[in-house]
């Protein structure tokens, strides 16, 4: 590896572990809530356990899984501070987003049955 500090073999297994995080989380998603943890935390434990086993391949694989799981866990707090990070809109939304969505839904109400004020605002712009 002289002259090339990047260990591509290790990097590949890190990536494979990160990519497999979702599989591990999915495998334990059934019973993880039963023990009071989310699948992401369970996946982090699995990744940590695999990384502890050592080995050029499975150790890196576990590390990748651990990194991905921790990344997933810290994503929401980071998004809370800096806004949504790229990609498509996820099912997880903040309180403000939910309120905005509810307001938008109300403003586009097409029938006066629920609220005549919303109906007049949506159809005629009368507020």
């Amino acid at each position: 590896m002289e002259g090339n500090p990047v260990d591509l073999n290790r990097l590949m297994w890190l990536g494979a572990g990160a990519g497999s995080k979702g599989i591990a989380a999915g495998m334990v998603s059934g019973f993880a809530p039963q023990v009071g943890i989310t699948p992401e935390i369970a996946a982090a434990f699995i990744g940590f356990w695999l990384a502890q086993q050592g080995g050029a391949r499975m150790g890196a694989f576990g590390e990748g899984m651990l990194i991905a799981a921790v990344g997933q866990l810290v994503r929401q707090p980071i998004e809370g501070l800096f806004g949504r990070i790229g990609g498509t809109k996820t099912a997880t939304t903040t309180t403000e987003e939910k309120a905005a969505a509810a307001a938008k839904s109300a403003s586009s109400e097409g029938s006066p049955e629920e609220s005549i004020d919303n109906y007049l605002a949506a159809k005629y712009g009368i507020t």
Partner: protein
């Protein structure tokens, strides 16, 4: 559940909720004092929607011995009063000359704003008879074309 409808609506002498004003004494007009042409009290369960394409037309008759049409310079205004009766907004302020057309869509007087007249709110039309003239609402005619939003009767 009863269906809601949003349909064209007309406010005129025969519309439920419309009360005509009292005729003023012949020759009593001073060019300042207002006389009420009509008052529309929006019924419960009904919302009247006035849009910028809604129209207002009128024929004003005086109460003189020989009844005649009011002069074109006669001031007319429509005020919107909330259900509590303490907030009043002018919705149309014009003269009779601009209200005479009942048919020609290009000449009909139109409202400037869009607004809703909710239940228990009022639209009142005031006229200022010219000096020495009067107003006889019973012989006058008016028409506001707008829309109504209300519940349909169940059959």
């Amino acid at each position: 559940m009863r269906k809601w409808i949003d349909v064209p609506f007309s406010i005129n002498q025969g519309t439920p909720g419309v009360t005509l004003g009292s005729a003023t004494t012949a020759g009593s007009g001073n060019g300042v004092t207002e006389a009420k042409l009509f008052e529309f009290l929006c019924p419960v369960g009904l919302t009247v929607v006035i849009l910028p394409l809604s129209t207002f037309a009128a024929y004003l008759s005086d109460n003189e011995a020989t009844p005649a049409e009011s002069g074109p310079e006669t001031p007319v205004r429509i005020v919107h009063i909330d259900s509590a009766g303490d907030i009043t907004l002018n919705r149309i302020v014009t003269t009779y000359a601009g209200l005479k057309e009942f048919a020609d869509q290009n000449k009909l007087k139109r409202f400037k704003d869009k607004f809703a007249v909710s239940e228990k709110e009022k639209l009142i039309c005031y006229v200022i008879p010219s000096t020495g003239k009067s107003l006889k609402p019973a012989s006058s005619r008016f028409e506001i074309d707008c829309r109504r939003v209300s519940k349909l009767l169940t059959v």
